[in-house]
Structures are given as C-alpha cells and as structure tokens.
Symmetry: C2
Subunit: 704 residues, 2 copies
C-alpha cells in the first residue's frame, strides 16, 4: 500500500510540473519543462503563539488567612459567605480533574503539564498606589497591629467588609496574584491564566474598601500592565461577570479611554448591592473615558445561560472586537452561577465555559481570569473548573437546554445597545433613533410637530365608525378625557341588547428600518380587531358602544390607562346604561389592558340583572381580579359568565408556559389560546366568543 502511494505521489508531482510548465500564473512553477528544480523545503518551525504554552495558575494558601473574626456561635453554623475555603475548593476541583497535579493540595510549585504555577507575591505599595489613595493603603497597613476590638470596630464601620490581623497580607497577595497572572500572560510565559485569589477586589474603590473587597485587584493589575508594558499593552478590556456591579473598577477607569470596562450585573433600579445608581446603563464614562464604560444592568434575578449568551453576542463581543484590546481581564465572580443563593441566577458551568471560549478569541488570546465573588462553594468550584478547562484548550461542554431569553433581559440589552450606539460602530445598524433619550423624547412635546401616534390611530377609528356606521360621540362629562373616547351606534338608546367593546389602542404591525431605526409607514398597518366585534354586533341589531382607552405615556404598569378604563366604565353605567329604557342584555368585549375597566365595574356595581357576559382578549397583558364589593357571590357569577382568552405566553400560565397552573376564579374563566399575539388569539377564538354571547343572550333559537 505504501509503495503504491509513493509511486502515485511521484507521478502526481511530475504531472503537476508538466501541467504548469507553460503557466505564468504561479511563481513556484516557472521552470521550463523537464528541468528539475530542487523542491522548496518549507520552514518547519511552528509559527504558533499559544498551542505549546500552558495555562497559568495563581494560588497561594496564605490568602486563606484573611477571615472574619467570629463573635458568636452562629457564625460557625452560618459562616460569612466570603469564606477562606472558596479558593481551596477551586484548587481542589482542578486537582481532582487532573488539571493540577498536587496530591496533597498544598499549593506546590510543580503542578504538571497542563498548567503552570505562577508564584504569588505581595503587591508593592507603588503598585497599589496606582489605583488606591495613600490613606486607604495606610489604613489597611495598620490592621495587622490592631487589637481584636479595634478590628471588630473597623469591621462594624465598613461597608460589608471584615478585617483580621492577616487581612493586609491576604489582600496584598490577592492583588499581587492578579498582577503576576496578567504579567505572565502579557510576557507570553503562559497562553492565558487564572488567578484563584481572595479577598475579591471589584468593590474596593480607590479610597475605600467595600463589599468584601480590600484592594481593587483587577484595577491595580490593569493599571500596572498599562504602565509596565506601554508598547504591548495599550488597551485593556475588563469584563466583570460577577453578579454585582464592580463599582471600584468602574471608578478607577471612568475617565480612561485605555480601559473598556463592561459589567453584567443585577441592578434592579439600584436596589441590588452595591445599591447605587452607578451601575445603571447610562453610566457610560466621563471625559476621555466617555463611551468606554458599559453597564448591562439586569432588572431582576433568576436569569441564566440564555440571557448571558444574549448579552455576549449582542453587546460584549461586537464591542470588544471593535475595541481591539491587547489584554482581556475577567473579573470573574461566580455568584451568577446556578446554586448561588446570593446571586439567585442560573448560569451553568458550561455557560461559563462558552463565555470564556468567546473571550479567548479576543486580544490574540491574551486572557486572564481573576476570581471575584461567588459564595456557593460547590457552584464556584464547578464554574471555575469549566473556565479552566476552556483556558487549557478544551471545547466548552454542551449547554443544558437553552431557553428563550427573558423579556426583561431583552429590554435591558436593547437599552444598552441604544445607549452605546452613540460610541460604537457595531451598533449603528441597531439603533432606535438617538439613544438614551428616546423614551424621554417620545413623551415630551419637544416641538409642536410631534404627535402621539395613538391619537392618529384613534382618528382613523373615528372616521370609520362615523362614515361607515354613523356612530356618534357619547359625551363624558367632567372627566377630562378626549371627546372621542366613547362612540356609539345611533340606535343605542332604544336597544334591548347592547354590545360594549372596550379596547386599548389597536396593534400596529410595522417594519423598522435596520438603517435608520425608523418605522416604514408604507408597510405598516393598524390591525383593528374591534372592527369585527362592532360589525358583528351591528349585524345582529344590537346597540354598540366603542370605548377607546389610550395607553399611558411613560408608565411601566399602564396605571393611568387602567384607572381611566375603570372610571369610564363606571361613568357609563351610572349615567347611561342604568337609564336606557328598553335595555335588558349587555355583553362586554374587553381587548387588552382596557378589560380591567369591565372587571372593575362588575365588582363595584350590581349589574347582574342586565349584564349577561364579559369576554376579554388579553394576549400577554396581566389578569385582573374581580373585587366583589357588592356581595361575595359576585366572583362565582363572574367566573360563570366570563371568558378570558390569554395567549400561551401569558405569565399567568407559570414561568415556562407548560405548567398547567390554573388562574384563580376571581380572574374569570381564563382560557389558553394556541396562538400568540392579540390578533391571532382573536382570529382563533372569535367564534367561541360570539357563540358565548349568543348563549348568554339566549338567542340560539333566532340564529340557528
């Protein structure tokens, strides 16, 4: 076999030489036919930067000396979360998985073929002073000599920090470890590195400790890399995936365009630790640093792989590729990990692997991962192992089933992109008008040439109702609402049966230009489901009342619209319906949030003589409970005489839509639609809804 291959090899080569004899395209074959040239021997030394290098590892048992001084028995049972065992557990799992060869787990120097031990040393004063104030350093330098009482007093005074006589040593080692890890990467002694250090650093501001952090390790390391390697390290990207905002790191580089700081963290309007507004999306840097600070502030906990990967692919990676850092440092808290009771998020170990893998593609692979928070010992160990495996060259493990990112996260990411689109080309194709001020602009009347779109849409409805169906306005007195809020058919006063349609502004289907971010009016349509209801009512000779409830401007919960709906319905009942002479049957059709007006009326007035049924199409809008002010049996009555159509995506069905969670009776008879979206729900259930009304009106004899 080998012989045959060899023969063929030769003939193949000669074939090529022959073929290309007259061929001018290629240099390497310009020799004339049959003149033998020596074969060009390629240089064979691998031109590889990293494949032959190990991954660096910083670990030193002395960083475990810093510990909270116990003052009560309960602290033994429920130890402080920033526990000395954190770094030990990470080192242990690396050893258990063979990444580190250290059978005694004592932190030896020779740790095998995969990782290279980077000796940890204390950060020097001058290194620390690159970021921190002299006062802060001097304060910490006094702690080794303090008495137990003094230490406890300082612990009491600080913002979530503790001190013992070893704190200063541990903090200097932690900081020095971060520096040495970065240095080994920058100098090319390792391909990348992981610093398993504590106490953490990212909450330590230049002038004070905080949030379990004494020195701002990553900031000190970054600052010193910029200083020591001005040629090879001009730009650094710090990615902080700790669940808390890295206020200290942000502060250290807020005015610096050499360091791009990106933090993904729980923010919750500033209520989550560190509890300030500095972690909000609109903190984008200052002066020269404007545009070089990017906060991705989650509005809630409970997020996981889907949201973090979304953030990476939509924001972090495009931005970093544009920034082109020379070094990437990860402020790697593992408190967003599944199982961390402080972070309450669900990032899987393999997701940490995937994120690490993505970051490896930056900065020619110059990546240094520095431990920050993370308080479940099991979770941080598993997460750190996943990161370390990817660092040494393993592919990340397959992700557990990826879910759809939560809408809260989607909205956060959208806001961040809009905000940053001012500074980053990669987001230009994604911007919605001009950035952060959009919502503000949209609700301000900055000029009298800006008109709310919903007014125009209502005008469209009015025109149709008036011209096609001769509707007239039904006045609302002293309510401060638009004249066109309630319209009714001309026969309404004398009708026996009235159909009342209470609705939000109709849906608009629109395409947004990727280029300008604006809506293209030529392909946008208003989908007005109410028209079908009204036509159906008129065909059956019912009186028809159309009530439009515009949505609230600038209110998350649509509060004032809901209030308006409630007031209008009660007003119409008290001032009109009660007095209509022939009226004996009323059916409500509520569409969207406006249906809350119907539920409110049915609980606040006894309408049971006349009202026969209430149908609602709520899509993904919240359910509204009937509050039975008249008597207790109202909720039962409502359940029997209502249909509430909710889309499968409505949160009332539980978090994943598959639970057969059943809403309670006070919400009416809630039915799940197979389709999604108001219009689709409506198409699916229109016949069921109208049949229900006919049934309630006892009109089957007429119609069938």
């Amino acid at each position: 076999m080998t012989d045959i291959v060899k023969k063929e090899t030769i003939s193949a080569n000669s074939n090529v030489l022959k073929r290309s004899a007259n061929n001018d395209v290629e240099n390497e074959y310009q020799s004339p036919v049959n003149v033998k040239r020596p074969v060009i021997v390629p240089a064979c030394k691998p031109k590889l930067r990293y494949t032959l290098l190990k991954t660096g590892l910083c670990y030193d048992v002395r960083m475990r000396y810093h510990a909270k001084i116990f003052t009560s028995y309960f602290e033994y049972i429920d130890p402080h979360p920033e526990d000395p065992r954190r770094i030990y557990r990470i080192y242990k799992i690396l050893a258990e998985n063979g990444l580190v060869n250290d059978p005694t787990l004592s932190g030896i120097d020779e740790i095998g073929d995969l990782m290279l031990k980077i000796p940890v040393r204390e950060a020097t004063d001058s290194e620390i002073l690159q970021v921190h104030t002299k006062e802060h350093l001097e304060f910490l330098a006094r702690t080794p000599q303090m008495t137990r009482d003094q230490l406890l007093k300082e612990t009491e005074k600080g913002d979530s920090v503790y001190f013992n006589n070893d704190s200063f040593l541990s903090a200097r080692l932690s900081c020095g470890g971060a520096i040495e890890a970065c240095k080994a990467v920058v100098e090319g002694r390792v391909k990348n590195a992981m610093a398993v250090v504590r106490p953490p650093g990212h909450h330590a501001e230049p002038e004070m400790a905080g949030g379990f952090c004494l020195f701002s390790n990553v900031a000190v390391a970054a600052q010193n890399m910029l200083k020591s390697y001005p040629e090879s390290v001009r730009k650094i990207m710090i990615l902080d995936w700790d669940i808390h905002h890295g206020n200290g790191t942000q502060k250290a580089f807020y005015g610096d365009d050499r360091v791009l700081y990106i933090s993904v963290h729980r923010h919750e309007l500033g209520k989550y630790y560190p509890g300030t507004i500095h972690g909000n999306y609109d903190r984008i840097g200052d002066g020269k640093g404007e545009g070089f600070n990017c906060n991705i502030p989650w509005p809630c906990g409970g997020l996981g792989d889907a949201e973090y990967l979304w953030a990476f692919e939509q924001v972090i990676m495009p931005m970093c590729r544009e920034f082109q850092p020379d070094l990437v440092i990860v402020s790697s808290g593992f408190d967003a990990a599944d199982g961390d009771t402080i972070g309450q998020c669900h990032v899987s170990p393999s997701c940490y692997g995937h994120m690490t893998h993505m970051l490896k593609s930056l900065a020619n692979g110059n990546l240094c991962v520095v431990l920050e928070g993370g308080y479940s010992l099991d979770s941080i160990a598993k997460s750190a192992l996943a990161v370390a495996k990817v660092l040494i060259g393993e592919p990340p493990d397959e992700l557990p089933e990826v879910k759809q990112p939560k809408s809260e996260a989607l909205e956060t990411i959208d806001t961040v992109i809009r905000t940053q689109s001012k500074y980053w080309k990669c987001f230009k194709g994604n911007h919605a008008n001009d950035g952060c001020s959009f919502k503000k602009k949209a609700t301000e009347t900055i000029a009298n040439r800006n008109f709310p779109l919903q007014n125009a849409i209502r005008q469209q409805q009015i025109n149709l109702l008036m011209s096609e169906y001769s509707f007239v306005m039904l006045p609302l007195i002293n309510m401060g609402l638009q004249d066109d809020t309630v319209m009714c058919s001309p026969n309404v006063y004398d009708s026996q049966a009235i159909l009342i349609c209470v609705h939000d502004t109709p849906e608009i289907w629109a395409q947004r230009s990727r280029v300008t971010g604006n809506i293209d009016p030529s392909t946008s349509i208003i989908v007005d489901t109410t028209v079908d209801v009204i036509k159906w009512g008129l065909e059956r000779k019912y009186g028809v009342i159309d009530i439009n409830i515009p949505q609230s401007l600038n209110e998350q919960d649509n509060y004032s619209a809901v209030t308006t709906a409630q007031e209008v319905l009660v007003f119409i009942w008290d001032n009109y319906l009660k007095f209509f002479p022939s009226l004996n049957k009323v059916a409500f059709v509520g569409i969207g949030d406006a249906h809350s007006g119907v539920v409110h009326l049915l609980g606040h007035r006894d309408t049971r003589n006349i009202v026969k049924c209430a149908i609602s199409f709520i899509d993904q809008k919240p359910l509204r409970p009937l509050i039975p002010l008249v008597d207790e049996t109202l909720a039962d009555w409502y359940y029997k005489n209502s249909l509430v159509f909710a889309s499968g995506e409505n949160t009332c069905w539980g978090s994943d839509g598959n639970d057969n969670k059943k809403p309670r009776k006070k919400f009416g008879r809630v039915l799940k639609c197979d389709s999604d979206g108001l219009n689709n729900n409506f198409e699916e259930k229109f016949d069921e809804a109208t049949d229900f009304i006919l049934d309630a009106f006892e009109e089957w004899s007429d119609s069938e």
Copy 2:
C-alpha cells in the same frame, strides 16, 4: 523562601481545620478538632477530551489528477478556476507554518506533533449511494474508460463540470476523505479535522454533478455518520460558508430533521450561481425537515468580516446551540475570501479563524472542516491556514478593523430571523409578527380591519391643518388620488408669494416590543417636520400648499410614489399656479422622496419667472437629477437656486462617507448635514433653508 511557604501551608491548613471543626456546612471537615484525618488525594488523571489529541488532516496528491482537458492555448494562460493546485497550496502553507512536518510536500504519513494524517481512501459504492442515485454513480464510473472526445462531450453537456479519466478516482477519494475525516472526529481519534479535498461537493445533487462538483462529499459523509454511529451521532449541523449556495447538500437533507443545513451565500434574487431560487431565505425545509434548512442569501457582493460575524452571532450560533448537534461539518469554500475574483467578497483570514473558533464551541468540539470552492490560490491558502491554526488550538488572529455591517446584510439577517423565528426559540425575542409572510400581509387587505398606517397619519395632519390653520382641500381632478392629497391655506388664490411643501409620510419614532414584536403606540410619535415649514410660511403671510405623497406599498424603489409626486406637481402648476393672478414668487420645500416631484416640474416646465428657489431635505433618499426638457440652461439655474440637504450617510457621498465625492450639478446644490436622520437634518438646517428662501424672495429688507 520555600521553607516559609511550607510552614505557612501547614499552619494555613491547620487553621482551616480548626475553623471548620464546628461547621456543619461542609462534609470534608466534619472531623472533631485535633483529630488528624488523612488528606484526601484527588484522582489526577486529566478528564479531558481533546487537549491531548491532535487535529486530523486529510490530503492525498491523487486528488490532483482530476483536471480539465485543455483544448486551447488560452487554458494554459487562464486555467480553470477549480485547479488541481488548490489542495497543494493549502498543504504547502500548512507545512511552511510548521503545522505539518513534510519537507518534501509529498503527502507523507508522519506529519509531526500538531496534526495527524488521516489516510484518504476511495468512498465505496454503498457509501455514495446513501446520497446519490445509481445512475449518477454509474455515469461517473464510466468516465475512466471514456475517450478524450467522449469526455469533452460530457464536459460540454454538464452544468459547469469537467471530466478526465482520473475524475472518478479523484472524486471517490475526495468523498472518502470527507468520510474519513468525520469518522476520525466521531471516533475520538483526533480532536477535530480538516479535509483538504477536491473536487468539491456541495453543488452535486443526488442525481447529477454540477458546479465543479461530482459527488456531494459532505452530504455523503454526514449521511454515513448518521448511519454508522446511530448512538453517538444523532444530529449533524452542516455550515456552508462557500460563497455559493450548496444546492446539492440542501437537496440531500431537505426533508430530514437530523441535519440542520445552514448556508451563507450570495444569492442576488437567484441570479448568482447556481442561479435558482432554492438558495432563498424562504427555503426552510420540507415535511419533517421543515425548519431545518436555513439560507442566508446575500443580495450583493462586496461583503466581509462585519457581515459574516453578524450572521454568526445573530443567526448561526444561537440556532446551533439550540439544535445541539453531535457533529459540525463545515462546507468550507474559501471563495468569500478577500482576493477571490469569483466571490468578490472580503472575508479576511482572521475572520475565518474567528468563525472556526465559534464553531469549536459546539458539539463538544466535534468539528470537521471540508474544503469546497475558493479560487484564488493565495486566498484559499491563507484562509485555510487560519482555520487550521484555530483547529489545533491557537486563538484566532485579531481582525482587521471591523466595519459596520452593510444595510443590505442587516436586512437579509432580519428577514432570515423573521423566517426562522417560527421554528427556533432563540429568535422568539426577535420576531416581527409572524415570519415570512409579513410584507405580504402588510399590503394585503386580508380583512377590513387592517388599515395602512400612513392613512391614519395623513388624517392627523389634515385635522391639524384644518382646525389650526383653516386649510382647505385643493381638488385634483381625474387623478385617482385621495381627496386629502393637497391642502392649501385659504389665502392661496390671492397670494403674491406661495410656499409649497411636498412631503412623504412623516417619520415615526417608535419602540418595538422585544416580546411581541409589535409597536408600542403609547411611546410612538409622529414627527411631522412639515408643520414647522407651514407655520413659518403662514407667519410671513405666504400662501401655503401642503402636498402629501404616500409611499408606495410593496415597491423597493418607491416608484409609484415618485411618479405620483411628479404628476401632482405638474398638475398643480398647469391648473392652479399658472392662473393665480397676483402670484410672483414660489418656493418649494421637498421632504423625502417626494422632492422628486419638484425636480421633475422644474425640468419639464419653464417656471423661472415665478419659482425662486427649491429646498429639499432628502436624508438618505436618492438624489434626483433635473432633466432639462425646456432648455439646456435649466440645470445651471437649478444648481443656483436650490439647496438639497442630504445626511452624511447618504450614498451620494461615496461608499464610506468620507470621500469628498461631489454630486453633479444636475442634482442641485447638494449639501452634507452633520447630523443623521430627517428630523435632525431639518433641525440643523432649518434656518439656513428659510434664509435661503428669504434671500430668493428678496425680502431681507423687510425682515431685518
């Protein structure tokens, strides 16, 4: 130093033991104080799948035997692009860079520590018949015995294929190489693999050769992996980044849900090779395979890193993570590479590295890259080297400066996401209503409850003009347009000066819900720039005419709107303006595409006695040339008496916006705005525009 460390190590350990003596949280430290336990020795065999394995490489000189039979001298000078040297050049660059240790470049078996040679064999009949028809196999099996004339005849008959007596051997080897490479990955003999094979495969359909391809190598390999490893290979993702659509591969798995085929390619409405509609975004698979075929069809050439990375992060990676393949095969043509004259795109070698790096994160790293097209020998060599380096474990090189993705690509990706959002959860947060049929739906009147948004917006304008400024309609007779197209101020008949504002439907600023994809009417506003123009005119006691030109439905070039604008302007000139008794000054303000009506009028009628100037705000809309039908001097006159404000992003400034390309005189005096977007242009230039009108009307004496 070592001594100190050791001592500290011990004391640290004992410290921990002491500390955790009373600690119930952790299992490993539950022994009582001072009772020594043996230290737990972790198992130290690395639990690593890939780090210790090499990357596989398929290469065999016999695949160079397949070559075009030369029939004229010119084929020596300009050889067929699918040239036998393609695979040699790739092998050579791997050797030159030390990835392969083969000084003679003859394809030896022992190629060093980084890559493992995978011997190439001929695919068997039964393997090939997994995808291809018996007729196709039998036809190719006859080619070794054919005469030169027969071969030339078959070459003539085929669709861009050629044959010689070695074609069958080379094709079987190429196909067998793909199979063996995949096999080595699946069996874990290598960490991943690269098959440097030819002839390529992805255009070969089950029943016929085509596009330089004889057997559908990747399809045959995939099909056989599914068959041979039913336990470990249940799902395969094939990513085809060749610049051409892989019609053969698509066809092989169009009804198969086990293979997700994703292709990124030039399509150009089906005009680009292979020249059919099968590569369009709406080809999403059939039957069980519905949703498992994804085409990303570029509408043009000239694309590069920005667009490919965008496609990866927005579409490919999310989709693949959701699919969770067991094996990823890349149909790796390098004809999208910078320098390829057939592909005319600009994907850099490092971008190929980045894309490979991303794919490595899937399927536990089970990745096999199989060569397809790519016709610049230099480009394919550099690209393949970048891919190979990432396969063996190098980080991808830094990208050249990443540009903003082109709007054509953004739109393509949007369309693909909308189309696929029906099948993939990951796109749920990104969908615009329900998928592929959106545009169709938007322009159909599927029910009489759908109304074009632009009608509602015009209604809003009419209401304002009538109620605030007492405007009346100016009738257009026999033009088949809406009554409300032209409105005028009551004084228009007697005015000496008239300002005519011709505009598109105003801009809408809107936020789209990430969750439902619908527009939120409560925060959407109509930004009607015309109001400022009209108010300014009325304040100066001019007559004012407002002309609304709705945009064309479902037309890319807005053709019918442009025609309407032209007809309306001519009609108004011929039937009104010419006969107004006192009129001696007219100024036009054109906003958007509608300004083409003004340009048309000024070229088709001699309006110079009365028309003093024409201002246009066109944002990113196309320039319109004046066609001087009346006399040749009109273009000069237009240049002197016009201002055309275009945004900096308008394509009239050349492709990157920085050229000082100057539009020609017939387009009027075109000025670049600093701002972007119609509304911003308008705010920036409003004073300049009105000053220009005052100047033209010689009214400075009055106003200053």
